[in-house]
């Protein structure tokens, strides 16, 4: 009796990959990433100039009467002051700022401690909206 060491060769032997399981996993991964992805909130920028303590500019020239907005904290509320106008509502400053003459010299915002940055950003934005070419940030005392 002769034993053959050859493996029997099957005719039409075909390797078949079951795609279903893989696609299931891939779709689960896709859904996971779709659900957990946090989309980036669009951001914009507002340019502010930085005040130089020793610089001579519109702030030091008394005849120019530059727009100086003082932002300070008043018992948890933010007080805006432009000349004689004192208000807690920023919209009250829009008309006076629009009426300013020397806009090319820019405006100055003097920010006191305790004021939330959002109010500062809104004032810078208001100055730009009302036509001031530059806004100079002056850190308060």
């Amino acid at each position: 009796m002769k034993l053959s060491n050859k493996r029997p060769i099957r005719e039409h032997a075909k390797i078949e990959l079951s795609m279903t399981s893989m696609i299931d996993v891939v779709f689960l991964l896709l859904i996971f990433f779709l659900v957990t992805a946090t989309f980036v909130q669009p951001e914009r920028q507002i340019l502010a100039d930085i005040h130089k303590p020793g610089a001579t500019g519109a702030l030091q020239q008394p005849d120019l009467q530059p727009a100086v907005i003082q932002i300070s904290d008043l018992n948890g509320r933010t007080l805006f002051q432009l000349g004689a106008i004192k208000t807690v509502d920023l919209r009250d400053l829009e008309a006076p700022l629009r009426g300013f003459q020397h806009k090319k010299h820019g405006s100055f915002i003097r920010v006191s401690d305790g004021v939330p940055f959002e109010k500062v950003a809104k004032v810078i934005d208001l100055c730009k909206t009302t036509g001031f070419q530059s806004v100079v940030y002056v850190p308060g005392d």
């Binding site: 896709l30 669009p42 951001e43 930085i50 730009k128």
Partner: protein, 123 residues
């Protein structure tokens, strides 16, 4: 079936990559919302994040004000000490008290910087 699997894999790789890289320089903050003339965000040389407590975060690491000043000084040195070649973006939380911003602005002024771009939330 093959093209569909290709697309699905590409989508997975896309989401994986985006979720990893979109927050390297930008710390998650609640930015001030303005509805005026803020310009489109442009790439900055350095992005300074400041959270609601006034903590400074640079590239995901917390910095003190002095350390921030030293880092900026080094950056200036690599740009021939020309502050106009350094575009500074300040990403400050809307609730951050101004004393922290004032301190940073004073440091920037001392280093010779004359402009800063404040990041705001916008459409």
């Amino acid at each position: 079936m093959t093209p569909m699997i290709d697309i699905v894999f590409l989508l997975i790789i896309f989401f994986l990559t985006v979720s990893q890289i979109n927050r390297v320089a930008e710390h998650p903050l609640s930015l001030a919302r303005v509805d005026g003339v803020a310009e489109k965000s442009s790439p900055a040389t350095v992005t300074i994040n400041m959270d609601s407590d006034g903590k400074i975060i640079l590239s995901g690491e917390q910095y003190t004000l002095d350390r921030t000043a030293r880092a900026l000084e080094q950056l200036l040195g690599s740009k021939a000490n020309d502050p106009t070649q350094v575009r500074i973006e300040l990403r400050c939380d809307r609730r951050c008290p101004a004393e922290h911003v004032n301190g940073l602005i004073r440091q920037l002024s001392d280093l010779g910087f004359s402009q800063v771009y404040a990041a705001v939330a916008g459409e």
